[in-house]
């Protein structure tokens, strides 16, 4: 059954909450990398988005609807 938009928002919220609760530990492990998160678990990690997408697809997940975040290298201050 297709996931509704409300469910998709909830799923993204759960993933971002989990990343924030575990931010320091995840940042230490994945500094400089992109990660994909689902059900409070890192399901893929990579230096590049192309590779991350391939890893997500290999798990039969839809990359577009997967929560992706990154941990930039800590040797710079980022200003947007």
């Amino acid at each position: 059954m297709a996931v509704t938009e409300t469910q998709l928002l909830e799923k993204g919220l759960r993933s971002s909450d989990w990343v924030q609760r575990n931010f320091d530990e995840l940042a230490k492990k994945y500094e400089g990398k992109l990660i994909a998160v689902e059900d409070e678990e890192v399901i893929a990690a990579s230096d590049t988005m192309e590779d991350l997408i391939r890893q997500i697809e290999r798990k039969n997940k839809n990359p577009a609807e997967t929560y992706v975040t990154s941990f930039p290298p800590s040797d710079s201050i980022w200003v947007f």
Binding site: E5, T6, L8, L9, E10, K11, G12, L13, S16, D17, V19, Q20, F23, D24, A27, K28, E31, L34, T48, M49, E50, L52, I53, I56, P63, A64, E65, T66, Y67, V68, T69, S70, F71, P72, P73, S74, S76, I77, W78, V79, F80
Partner: protein, 151 residues
Amino acid sequence: MKIPLAVGKLFPKEERLFPLAPVIIKPSKYPFIRMPTNALIDTGSGSTTIAPRDIMKTRIPYKALRPASPRHIRIGGFILPVLDLGGATLIFRDEIGESISIETPMINVIGTSPKGEGVEHIPTIIGTDFLEDNEFALLFSPSRREAYLEK
């Protein structure tokens, strides 16, 4: 109307906090695509832009998008091409957990460049254009870990 935001970190070894909006972006031209992300609310940006990592995961080819005007964006130390995705619907969750859909007539996408190593760390940004056009005020108190959009 009130849209609660997350208050969270973005950078390793950096304790400072930022206002982040959990949102689903649905491009009008690609209605079958739903893109959940955590967008940075950035009052230093006049333009709402979708990050390279978010557009790449949709598999929308850059070649299918027209250059925006202006054609470049200066962001995070990069000068990158900016492309026009057309209209989009941004879906948020309000304070009682109901989803709120907001149409935006035009949204930009940040492209990549051969010298763009590191662009994947740029987040999707909701800029002042979105706040102004939709009459939202931003309240952000990092010390109280409180943030929301209100109108």
